[in-house]
C-alpha cells in the first residue's frame, strides 16, 4: 500500500504546481500547459483513490478509473479548443499574450482577410 502514499503526495504536489503555473505564467500557451498539469494531478488523485479501493480481485476500483479515462478525453478536447482559440487570437492580433496593451497594429486588416 506504499505506492498510494507516494503517488498521493505526488498528485497533490503536481496539482499545486499546475495551479501555480496557471496563475503566474503570463503566456497563454504556458497557462494551458499548466492547466493540463493541474488536470493530470486531479486524475492522479482519482487513481490513488481507486488503488485504495482495490477489492474483489481487481487491482483497483474500476469506477474511478473509467471516470479518469472519460476525463482525459474531455481534457484533450478542451485543450484542443483552447489552443485553437489562442492560435486564432495570435493570427488576428499578432501577439501571443492577452495583456490589453499588447494588442498591436496587426488587428483590423487581418481578421477580414
Amino acid at each position: 500500500m506504499s505506492e498510494t502514499i507516494v503517488f498521493g503526495l505526488c498528485a497533490a504536489v503536481v496539482a499545486g504546481l499546475g495551479l501555480y503555473g496557471a496563475i503566474v505564467n503570463p503566456q497563454p500557451l504556458r497557462k494551458i500547459l499548466a492547466f493540463n498539469l493541474l488536470g493530470s494531478g486531479v486524475f492522479l488523485f482519482f487513481g490513488v483513490v481507486a488503488r485504495r479501493g482495490a477489492a474483489a480481485g481487481f487491482p483497483g476500483d474500476p469506477i474511478p478509473q473509467a471516470l479518469v479515462i472519460t476525463g482525459v478525453v474531455v481534457a484533450f478536447s478542451a485543450t484542443a479548443l483552447a489552443l485553437a482559440l489562442l492560435l486564432r487570437y495570435f493570427d488576428a492580433t499578432g501577439s501571443a499574450s492577452l495583456r490589453d496593451g499588447a494588442a498591436s497594429n496587426a488587428g483590423p486588416e487581418s481578421t477580414d482577410a
Partner: protein, 315 residues
C-alpha cells in the same frame, strides 16, 4: 520487500522534476518537450497504480495527441514570443500564489491520507454485476454498460469541441481545409515513415480495441492510435485533409454518437431502461457500438489536432 517503495520514489521523483521543469522552463518549446516527457512518465505511474487501461489512455492521448497539438502551437507562436512582456505578477504576487498553491496541495494530500482504512470502493458491486455483460475487463464493463451514459455524452462532447474548433476559421476559409498543404518530397524520411508506420498502427489500434473485452485496452485508445496514424500521413504530405464542408465527412463524424443513441433508445423500447442491453446480446451489441465508435472518434480526434480550416475548399 522494502525495495519496492524505492521504485515508486524514483518514478514519483522524476515525475515531479519534469513537472517543475514544465512550469519553470524559460521558453515554451522546451516546456512542451518537458510536457511530452511528463505524459510519458505519467503512463509509468498509472501502470504502478495498477491501472493499465488508464496508462494506455494517458500515453496515447495525454502525451501523444496533446503533445502534437502543443508542439504545433509552440512552433507557430514562437514568432510572437519576443513581443510578450515580462512577468506581470510582482514578487509579492508570486509568493501569494505560491502560498495558495501549497495550501491546495496540502488539502489534497490530507484528503488522500485520511481515507478510512476499508477505503470506500464500488469494486464489489462491479464484480457482482460483471456477469451481466459477459465482458472480462471491468473497466470496459463500467464504460460501456454500467456508466454507458457518460461514454455516450463524452462522444457528443468530442463532436461539440470539433464544431467549436471549426467555427474559429477565418471567413475566407469557411468550409475549407485545415493545415497548409505541402508537396511530399518522395525520398524524405518522413514519407518513408508515413508509408511504413500506418499499417502497423492500424493493426495495433484494432488489436487494442479487440483485446479490450477481456484485457486492458479500449475503443478510445484504439481510436487515438488510428488518429495518430492519419496525422503522420498528413504531416508527410502524402494526403490532404478533406474539406470541412464535405457532407460525407460530417455524416461520418456524427455516425458514432448517433449509433450509440439509437442503441440506447432501442434498449428503452425493448422494455429495459435507456441504454440497457438485452440480456444475452450484451457483448455483441457492445462490440458493435465500439467498432462504430472507433472510426468516428479517430476522425474527430485527428481533425481536432488538425485545427480550424485555413485554406479555401479547392485542393
Amino acid at each position: 520487500m522494502t525495495i519496492v517503495p524505492a521504485l515508486d520514489l524514483f518514478v514519483a521523483g522524476v515525475v515531479l522534476i519534469v513537472a517543475v521543469w514544465t512550469v519553470v522552463a524559460r521558453d515554451s518549446s522546451s516546456a512542451v518537450v518537458g510536457f511530452v516527457a511528463y505524459g510519458l512518465l505519467l503512463a509509468l505511474v498509472w501502470v504502478r497504480l495498477g491501472a493499465p487501461d488508464v496508462a494506455l489512455t494517458e500515453a496515447a492521448i495525454g502525451s501523444g495527441l496533446t503533445g502534437a497539438l502543443l508542439i504545433g502551437a509552440a512552433a507557430r507562436l514562437r514568432a510572437g514570443e519576443s513581443s510578450t512582456s515580462a512577468e506581470h505578477l510582482g514578487g509579492v504576487g508570486r509568493t501569494l500564489v505560491a502560498a495558495l498553491a501549497t495550501i491546495v496541495a496540502a488539502a489534497i494530500a490530507v484528503a488522500l491520507l485520511s481515507l478510512p482504512d476499508p477505503a470506500p470502493s464500488l469494486a464489489p458491486e462491479a464484480a457482482a454485476n460483471a456477469g451481466a455483460t459477459g465482458l472480462g475487463n471491468p473497466i470496459t464493463n463500467v464504460l460501456m454498460a454500467f456508466r454507458a451514459m457518460d461514454t455516450m455524452l463524452e462522444k457528443f462532447v468530442l463532436v461539440i469541441a470539433l464544431v467549436g474548433v471549426w467555427s474559429l476559421a477565418p471567413d475566407g476559409a469557411w468550409g475549407g481545409r485545415p493545415r497548409s498543404y505541402h508537396r511530399a518530397d518522395p525520398e524524405g524520411a518522413l514519407v518513408f515513415l508515413a508509408r511504413v508506420l500506418p499499417p502497423l498502427g492500424v493493426v495495433l489500434g484494432i488489436y487494442v480495441l479487440w483485446v479490450s473485452a477481456d484485457h486492458p485496452g479500449g475503443a478510445f485508445q484504439g481510436a487515438t492510435i488510428l488518429a495518430a496514424m492519419w496525422l503522420v500521413v498528413l504531416m508527410a504530405g502524402l494526403g490532404d485533409v478533406p474539406e470541412v464542408g464535405r457532407q460525407q465527412l460530417r455524416l461520418m463524424l456524427v455516425a458514432g454518437p448517433v449509433v450509440f443513441l439509437i442503441v440506447g433508445l432501442g434498449g428503452l423500447l425493448l422494455g429495459g431502461a435507456f441504454l440497457s442491453y438485452p440480456q444475452d446480446w450484451a457483448k455483441p451489441v457492445i462490440l458493435a457500438i465500439e467498432f462504430a465508435m472507433i472510426l468516428t472518434v479517430a476522425a474527430t480526434l485527428a481533425l481536432l489536432v488538425a485545427g480550424p480550416p485555413e485554406r479555401s475548399a479547392e485542393p
